[in-house]
Every structure is written in structure tokens, then in C-alpha cells.
């Protein structure tokens, strides 16, 4: 049974480049682990490909394709306009209710989809986790970042609606990327917590729909935060980082006359705390992912 010749003479030292070998020590990780941001940078190409795969595959074999990215927030806007705008007569800071709610639904959809996808990312990618090493942080990150394309599509519709309603964006619109970043940080922060928990406790799958639903109503999407008049209370409202995002979007695009200064600061602080605690929790539990998932 000789499938090939036995290999006899072989150079023991390949290329003589011994000194250039990277040395890795594999050992149990300590209780407090570093975030390994440098490793993330090393693996940026993989992050790019994971995002690219997510986007490429998302609307395969659907009839409506990427239109789904628009339908989701748009139909919600229609429902909100009917029930909250028309029937309940909820105020909208002097802006037509449809665009008032849609301007909030665009970043909200980005956030909630990112949250859902990232919380499922590790479990759905179990096969990858069990078979190959790479920084696991890439998976939930790719799931959130992949939502940018959907965001872009629904944002384009927002611009069309602004033309329709004759609303000219203010110069504050240059701040939009900051608010988008805030939504991304929040989504990723919560996504890291939930994805790591989901590996061990599949309860997360049942929690996420509730969580996003409650969170949606805790965010001034269907109603303006100007309902809260006390400025201190409004700043506290910013503890929900999505308040900062939504208020920011409306302020930057539609020119609602209340710059969300204090709220935004509170929102950013909370979002960054979420991101860092989430990342540490993730890194701490990461070592057992391949064994448990």
C-alpha cells in the first residue's frame, strides 16, 4: 500500500529563516484579558470579507431583494403615521409626522437589525468557530457593519421624502456620521454582550425580539422627546443611547429647534461603556466558545 514514495531527505531547517518566525505561546488565558485591538487590525481583511459575504448573501433568493431594506422602516413609518400621527394625534415638533418618524426609523432599523444579527452571529457561525482560529470579535462586528448598506438604501428614501415634503437639510447635517457612529457603537456594544451570552444560553434568541420592541418604545421614535420639558430629565433620557441617535438625526436633517447637546454627551458615554464592557465580557468568555457553541 504505497500511495507515494516515503520522504527521506528533507531539509530540517527551511530557508534558514529561523529568527524571523513569530512565536506564539498557547496557554490558558488569565481572568482579565486584553482586548487585542492589534490582532483585530491584523485580521482586517477577514472582517472585510465577512461583511462582504453578509451583504452579498443577505437578499439572495428573495423576490424583492434589497427593497426589503426600504420596506422595513417605510411600512413601520406608514403604520406609525396612521395610528400615532393621525389617530392619537401625537405631536411631531411641527414637522410632517411621516418624515418625523421615518427620520428616526432609519437609524433605528440599522440599530435593531445590527443587534439581531450580531446576537445570532456566533451561533450561526458555529461551524467556523469550531474549525478555525480568528478573533471571534470579528463576527458580531461584521454583522453590525454589514447593515451599513441597508442603512444607505433607506437613507436615500429619507432624502427623497425630504424633497417631497420640501425640507432643506441644515448645515448640521455634517454631524450625521457622528450619530450613525453612535448607533453603531450602541448596536455593537449590546450585540457583543448578547452574542457571547447566546453561545451558552440560547435564551437570548427569545429575549432579543422583546428587547428591541421595548427599546423601540423607550426611544422617541413615535413621539418627540420634547414631551419631556425638564432639561435635566431630558439629559437623563440620553441614558438610552438611541435617544441621542434619533434626536441627533432629526436635529441634523430636519432642523428641529432643540440641539441635543447634553443628551448626546450622556448617550455617547453610555454607548462607549456598553461597548467596552461588552468587549471585555466577550473576550473573557471567548475561550470557551468552541467548546460550548
Amino acid at each position: 500500500m504505497t500511495l507515494l514514495q516515503k520522504t527521506e531527505e528533507r531539509e530540517i531547517v527551511p530557508n534558514g529563516k529561523i529568527d524571523t518566525y513569530p512565536v506564539i505561546r498557547i496557554k490558558p488565558s488569565p481572568r482579565w484579558v486584553s482586548l487585542q485591538l492589534n490582532v483585530l487590525w491584523e485580521y482586517r481583511e477577514l472582517l472585510y470579507f465577512l461583511v462582504w459575504r453578509d451583504i452579498k448573501v443577505r437578499y439572495k433568493q428573495t423576490i424583492l431583494g434589497a427593497t426589503w431594506a426600504i420596506i422595513q422602516p417605510f411600512l413601520t413609518m406608514v403604520v406609525f403615521s396612521l395610528f400615532f400621527g393621525r389617530l392619537a394625534g401625537i405631536p411631531s415638533d411641527g414637522i410632517p409626522y411621516p418624515i418625523f418618524s421615518y427620520a428616526a426609523l432609519v437609524p433605528w432599523t440599522f440599530f435593531s437589525n445590527g443587534l439581531q444579527n450580531s446576537s445570532q452571529s456566533l451561533v450561526l457561525g458555529a461551524n467556523l468557530i469550531k474549525k478555525i482560529y480568528f478573533p471571534r470579535l470579528l463576527m458580531p462586528t461584521a454583522a453590525v457593519v454589514g447593515g451599513i448598506v441597508d442603512f444607505g438604501l433607506s437613507f436615500a428614501v429619507l432624502l427623497l421624502m425630504m424633497v417631497y415634503f420640501g425640507i432643506v437639510p441644515t448645515v448640521n447635517a455634517i454631524w450625521l456620521p457622528v450619530f450613525l457612529l453612535l448607533a453603531l457603537i450602541t448596536s455593537l456594544g449590546v450585540g457583543l454582550w448578547l452574542s457571547a451570552m447566546n453561545v451558552q444560553f440560547r435564551d437570548v434568541r427569545y429575549i432579543v425580539p422583546f428587547l428591541t420592541q421595548f427599546w423601540m418604545f423607550a426611544t422617541p421614535i413615535a413621539y418627540p422627546s420634547s414631551l419631556i420639558e425638564n432639561p435635566l430629565l431630558r439629559a437623563i433620557y440620553g441614558i438610552n443611547p438611541m435617544t441621542g441617535v434619533v434626536e441627533g438625526f432629526r436635529w441634523a436633517l430636519l432642523g428641529t429647534d432643540n440641539p441635543p447637546g447634553a443628551t448626546i454627551v450622556v448617550s455617547f458615554v453610555v454607548a462607549v461603556i456598553l461597548l467596552f464592557t461588552g468587549a471585555f465580557y466577550f473576550r473573557r468568555t471567548e475561550k470557551s466558545f468552541a467548546d460550548v457553541v
Binding site: L3, L4, I18, I24, I26, E45, L46, V57, Y281
Partner: protein, 431 residues
């Protein structure tokens, strides 16, 4: 020192396995547990402890205090029976999972090949999957671009490179997956059983490629059940047993040792065997093989009938409602060849059994070629594994008059004999 590629020192890995049976002594305990359990689990969750929702009680050491050194350019085979810890060792060395204690130093880039086509997405085309899979395996984009044509040619999928992989035949998918992996250029390559997939032509090609890699002077760690492949590829071998290094040395020595150890273990009395699995509600106590004349033996001529008689004991004196028994026959390399299993041959008949008794399996005309085999016993009681003993007995198949012709084919032409008959008829042209 500097020519060391991998050095492992006291590597150990334990898993906590959930014990689900006999945990609740009574109904009240079960109720209390169901109320307090969630709180305890949430507490564990928030502390970031591992091991999930399972109630962990028992430690299982998959690896225990493994130490070895591998030099650059060595091709090392890792062998051992199922559950010896081979895969766990590879997973640690490829950083998929962490050791519980000990460490391993790795000098050089590691390419791990634990599966062919990891991360392939069926909706993406062959071209797209090459890039995706290559990146996942740790190749740079520029590197993939450079080797792209070579990969496609190796996989022989030129015509379908822009077709979604879901339309590929399984063979094409495997070829493409291996082609990408084969073009990795790490200093240290870690390979698990991937060669056990695909048709024999493909396997040959894979082994050929592995040999090429080895000749280029790279370090290869190779886990396989295929002793022929290990023997051909590897200069050195490490044998694992029960999570520890049993022996290391030249490949031929280690393989010999491995075959002998299989023999020794099968000669221990079943009652004395400690290496058993299962909850122990039933135990195998004895096994004998009787030939067609009713005499106890351990060797049967091929083509003959024989009986396997297995005694068992129960912990209680209750009659057994539902029992399932199997005897798996494996060759000396640990490859399972066939399984004699009541649920397949006569399901639903082993009901209402005495607490202590003898199960008999009658085998008609054994079709295995003359060689040495090992029988693994497996006993289930009420759906749960009660007892399992690997290599419980040795069975030697002797030369016999299988075909009634007094002749047998040479052993390299197959593992099985099959009753058959050739005949000829004339073909008339134009019909």
C-alpha cells in the same frame, strides 16, 4: 533550540460534562431545582464562567499532561483510538480552543486544516468562495490573487468558477476546498482526517500534495486513522491513549506498538475492564465466540457461521423493558467495518429481558477477509448508554473456502468477500 517548531509542556484540557441522570432524588428536589436553577445559572452567566446552560458536575480530561517537541521540517503523525485526545490536541495547537493548563510554544505561522472548505457559502460562486475561504484560512488577498489560477486548476473546476457552489457536486466542493487549503504556505501545517473524504482518486491527490508539502521542508502535524498514509508521510509518530502520550518514536515502531496494544487490551477479562463508558445500569460480564460446531474459539474461517454470546448483569432485579445491543467489528487500525445491531436486524424484539442474561448474535457466513479484528460492545438500556467497551474481544478470521473454490483474493484487493459468480453470453453484432 532554535530549530524547534512546536514545544508542548504539560498541556491539559478538561471538559465539564453535564450529568443529567439521578440528579433529582425526589419530586420536591426537582421543583426546588427548577426554581433555583435559573438564578444560579444567571449568576454564572454574569460572572462570565464558561460551560453554558448545562449543569456541570463531572470533569472529563480529554488531554492530560501532554509534552513533546517537534522540530522544523518534521512530519509527525498523531495516532490513537477514538477518544484518545487527538482532535483536542489539534484544536489546541490551532488555537481554536484553549488548554486548561500547561502551554505550547509555536515557532512560525500555523495553518490549520481541520475541515475542507471551512466557511464556504453555498450562495457564493466558486471564485468568491476561494477568496472568502482563503482569507478565513489566513491568506492575504494579494496572495490569493497570485495563486488563484493554480487553485482553480488543482480543483479542476475551471468551467464552473462563476457558478454558485450550491450547484457543485459534493466532489467538486471538496476539491475546491482542498485546493485552497493546499495552497496555504504556513511554516507549520496542522491537518486532521481531511483525507478521509472524497473518492479514492481525490484522496490520492491530497496525499500526494501532502507529501509535496512535507518535501518542501515544512512542519506537518497529521492526525489520521489511515495508518498507510501515516506510515508513508510521517517520519515520526506520537501515540495518544486516554489523553496522554503513550509512546513516541519512528512511525513504524509506533504503529507496531499501536497494533499490539489493541491486541493486549482485548485479552483482558470483560468484568475487569475499567475503560468502559455508560451509566452502568447494565454491565457486560463475558463474551465468547462459538463456531458452527458449538466450540468456543476466537478464530473463524471466512464463510463460516458463528455465534457471539454476551453475558450481562443488571444492578437491580427488575426485568428490563427495552434493551439495544450492538457489536461493532473494526480492523487493527481502528476503522469500523461493520456493525451487528439488533435495532437494525430485528428491531423491537429485545423487550422484557431478565435482569441477568445472555444475548446471542448469530452471524451467517462471515464475509471479512482473513485478518485480525476487534469487537466493540455497546449496550443501551431504556435509550441510555449503559455500557460500552472498545475492543472487548479479538476475532481472527482464518483462510476458509468462502467461494467453494478453495481460493481467496489477495488481501490488498479489498476488505470484504462477496458471494458472486461470473458468467458470459455472446453478443451478436447488430442486435
Amino acid at each position: 533550540m532554535s530549530d524547534i517548531a512546536v514545544r508542548a509542556e504539560g498541556l491539559s484540557k478538561s471538559y465539564q460534562i453535564g450529568v443529567t441522570q439521578e440528579r433529582y432524588r425526589n419530586f420536591r428536589d426537582a421543583i426546588v431545582e427548577s426554581v433555583t436553577g435559573p438564578f444560579r445559572r444567571v449568576g454564572r452567566l454574569l460572572r462570565g464562567d464558561s460551560y453554558g446552560a448545562a449543569e456541570a458536575h463531572e470533569l472529563f480530561w480529554a488531554l492530560r499532561d501532554i509534552s513533546f517537541e517537534i522540530k522544523h521540517g518534521e512530519v509527525v503523525g498523531i495516532i490513537g483510538r477514538n477518544g484518545a485526545g487527538k482532535s483536542t490536541l489539534l484544536k489546541i495547537l490551532s488555537r481554536i480552543t484553549e488548554p486548561t493548563s500547561g502551554y505550547a510554544d509555536i515557532y512560525g505561522r500555523v495553518g490549520a486544516l481541520l475541515e475542507v472548505g471551512t466557511g464556504f457559502h453555498p450562495e457564493l460562486t466558486g471564485r468568491e468562495n476561494i477568496y472568502l475561504n482563503g482569507t478565513i484560512l489566513g491568506m492575504r488577498q494579494s496572495e490569493i490573487k497570485r495563486k488563484f489560477d493554480e487553485i482553480v486548476a488543482f480543483a479542476e473546476v475551471e468551467k464552473f468558477i462563476d457558478t454558485p457552489v450550491k450547484h457543485y457536486s459534493s466532489g467538486m466542493g471538496l476539491r475546491l476546498g482542498f485546493a485552497v487549503a493546499a495552497h496555504l504556505e504556513p511554516e507549520i501545517l496542522v491537518v486532521d482526517e481531511v483525507l478521509a473524504v472524497g473518492d479514492s482518486a481525490f484522496q490520492k491527490k491530497c496525499i500526494g500534495k501532502m507529501g509535496e508539502v512535507a518535501r518542501e521542508g515544512r512542519t506537518v502535524l497529521f492526525v489520521s486513522h489511515n495508518m498507510a498514509a501515516v506510515e508513508n508521510l510521517c517520519t515520526r509518530a506520537i501515540m495518544l491513549q486516554g489523553g496522554t502520550v503513550r509512546t513516541t518514536g519512528s512511525t513504524s515502531e509506533v504503529i507496531k506498538f499501536y497494533s499490539n496494544s489493541m491486541e493486549n487490551i482485548a485479552q483482558t477479562e470483560l468484568r475487569e475492564r475499567k475503560d468502559r463508558k455508560g451509566n452502568g445500569s447494565l454491565r457486560f460480564t463475558n463474551l465468547v465466540i462459538r463456531n458452527s460446531d458449538g466450540a468456543i474459539t476466537d478464530s473463524i474461517p471466512c464463510g463460516d457461521n458463528f455465534d457471539i454470546e454476551i453475558n450481562y448483569e443488571s444492578q437491580t432485579s427488575d426485568r428490563l423493558k427495552q434493551v439495544s445491543v450492538s457489536a461493532t467489528i473494526a480492523n487493527t487500525l481502528g476503522e469500523n467495518l461493520t456493525c451487528l445491531w439488533d435495532e437494525m436486524s430485528n428491531p423491537g424484539e429485545l423487550v422484557d429481558l431478565p435482569p441477568n442474561g445472555m444475548l446471542v448474535c448469530h452471524v451467517d457466513s462471515i464475509q471479512l477477509i482473513p485478518s485480525t479484528y476487534y469487537i466493540t460492545l455497546n449496550l443501551r438500556n431504556g435509550g441510555l448508554l449503559a455500557d460500552k467497551i472498545d475492543s472487548a474481544a479479538q476475532l481472527t478470521v482464518l483462510d476458509g473456502d468462502f467461494f467453494g473454490s478453495g481460493k481467496l483474493p489477495p488481501s490488498h484487493l479489498g476488505s470484504f468477500l462477496h458471494p458472486h459468480r461470473w458468467s458470459v453470453s455472446e453478443t451478436v453484432e447488430g442486435v
